[in-house]
């Protein structure tokens, strides 16, 4: 069964001050999708997500969205100003800015935010400053902000960068639960084995789209070399592809000579 189209990029190119960041991207997100964008840093993942979101206007081609599509965006943790004086609650209700105007957080908003925070395991942290949280909690505050107005499409930029294994598992479980509840998800990552290999659909990006398909179709040495510009090997473990750094064996051999 093929879901309705939520976002469609057609021959899309985006640039910063006339330097091309992504070029000629053809790409569709449908209802029910759970897509991972993989590529090395600087390959245009953030740019693609921002173009989908509408924060960047393509210089060529176009992005079409389902009318009134509700999207929630979770930025890369590194792009957040953690010293900014805001509490967890203030961040979560922030997207309501267009409606509620006065400084005070309304009772309804507080109740709605508590519900979302509770479900993300952040209950009781409403009045904490955002810097006073652990890495996983910080990540989830922004997930809470995105979920606060019930998005149909959740857009996450590198949701597992810089978090430990346990937090990564928590994030994955959370996303899988949300997906089960009908939220469509697109995320970017450069974590191939920890995150990408678990997703139903992957898009390999290196300025251009190199491949688009299931992990088994996409995680091949040829595609990976084209995407990351470095040799990689792929093993199959328990029916799932596992990517091994091609340089690894070489380094291991040299290291063993040292020892």
């Amino acid at each position: 069964m093929i879901g309705e189209v939520l976002v469609e990029c057609a021959h899309m190119s985006c640039a910063y001050n006339s330097t091309l960041a992504i070029k000629n991207v053809d790409f569709t997100i449908r209802k029910g999708d759970f897509v991972g964008i993989v590529g090395p840093s600087g390959s245009g993942k953030t740019t693609l997500l921002k173009a989908i979101l509408g924060a960047i206007t393509p210089i060529e081609g176009h992005v079409t969205k389902k009318p009134q599509l509700r999207m929630g965006y979770v930025p890369q943790v590194e792009s957040v100003d953690w010293n900014f004086p805001v509490t967890v609650l203030e961040v979560v209700v922030m997207t309501r800015s267009a409606m509620g105007r006065l400084p005070r957080v309304t009772k309804d908003e507080r109740a709605g935010a508590s519900l979302v925070l509770e479900r993300l395991g952040l209950g009781g942290l409403e009045n904490r400053h955002i810097r006073e949280l652990s890495g996983g909690q910080q990540q989830r505050v922004f997930v809470a902000r995105a979920l606060f107005h019930r998005p149909e499409l959740l857009v996450l930029d590198e949701p597992t960068s810089g978090v430990d294994v346990r937090t990564r598992h928590e994030v994955l479980h959370l996303l899988a639960d949300l997906h089960d509840e009908g939220v469509s998800i697109i995320l970017s990552t450069h974590d191939l084995n920890g995150l990408a290999a678990h997703l139903p659909r992957l898009v390999c990006l290196n300025s251009e789209i190199i491949a688009d398909g299931s992990p088994v179709e996409v995680l091949t040495p040829e595609v990976l070399e084209k995407t990351f510009g470095a040799p990689m090997e792929v093993l199959i473990h328990g029916g799932m592809p596992v990517v091994v750094d091609g340089v690894g064996a070489d380094i291991a051999e040299r290291m063993s000579r040292l020892g």
Binding site: P75, P85, R96, P103
Partner: protein, 284 residues
């Protein structure tokens, strides 16, 4: 005893002092309010640049015999909008470009005053501020800008918060970020325009930065910063102005030094309480 007491109130017997201290106190509060955005966006150079740009407008209007508020106002708002545009593009060296534009404006003003101005005194008054020239119009002007700023910032509070914290997401969530930024630049230009005659071109950027920095150290809440910072700005301006009378020092310099003293005290106290205690600060 009564001599000492009456001595304390002596300055208030002078109309110029009363006008000066009223304008300075409101100016301190106003700079404290807008300084919150200046500090949180890390754009103190814009306050510095704008005041230098406005100096050009002030000089031009003096030389051409145009009303100060009109001449410097048009000049200041125009440069504020231009600076906002340049800064938003986030080109490398945007701050350098702003530096060029505004110091050129400053230099032009200086040259105009040298060539066509009447007295050296007027240059000094614009550079360092003066309480002597302050009159009712200044009180009305600074009060009007203060009321306008409070009304706009309170009624558009969430848009201001969102656009300051996370402009990109704010934009896609329906906040008109460009509009909010233009508004902020306009208010900042107006603030500089109406406070410059008292505080002076050279020290105004300090009054935009010090109260907000002190407030930031005292609270982790944006909403609270928005009132703590104006209070600190008002208190340091009032105290500085008052002390200047007895110390026979420049009013603006004394105001800035008072603010700096508060900064040092708060910095030391919050530092002494240590990192572990900072977490307890969020309910202040």
């Amino acid at each position: 005893m009564s001599f000492v007491l009456s001595g304390i109130f002596t300055p208030f017997h002078y109309q110029f002092f009363n006008n000066g201290i009223i304008v300075a106190t409101i100016a301190g509060a106003l700079c404290g309010l807008l300084g919150v955005f200046v500090v949180l966006r890390g754009m103190s150079y814009i306050g510095h640049g704008l005041s230098h740009a406005v100096f050009g407008g002030a000089a031009a209007s003096a030389v051409m015999n145009i009303n100060y508020f009109v001449g410097a106002g048009v000049w200041g708002v125009a440069s504020g909008v231009i600076i906002g545009r340049i800064a938003r593009r986030r080109l490398i060296g945007a701050d350098a470009a702003i530096g060029v534009v505004t110091t050129a404006s400053f230099a032009l003003g200086l040259a105009l005053l040298n060539r066509y101005g009447q007295a050296k005194k007027s240059i000094e008054a614009v550079l360092f501020g003066s309480v002597l020239g302050v009159n009712t119009i200044d009180i009305v002007a600074v009060s009007a800008v203060a009321v306008l700023s409070i009304v706009l910032i309170v009624s558009l509070y969430r848009a201001f918060l969102f656009a300051t914290f996370d402009p990109e997401v704010a934009q896609v969530s329906g906040v008109r970020v460009a509009w909010i930024e233009a508004l902020l630049m306009g208010l900042l230009s107006l603030t500089i325009l109406v406070t410059m005659r008292v505080i002076g071109t050279l020290l105004i950027s300090a009054l935009l930065v010090i109260p907000a920095s002190v407030a930031r150290m005292l609270t982790n809440s944006f909403a609270r910063m928005l009132w703590i910072s104006p209070v600190i700005g008002a208190v340091s301006s009032f105290t500085g102005m008052y002390l200047a009378y007895f110390l026979d020092t420049s009013a603006s310099a004394t105001i800035i030094l008072t603010g700096t003293l508060m900064f040092i005290v708060v910095y030391t106290v919050t530092g002494l309480r240590g990192r572990t205690r900072i977490s307890g600060l969020h309910h202040i």
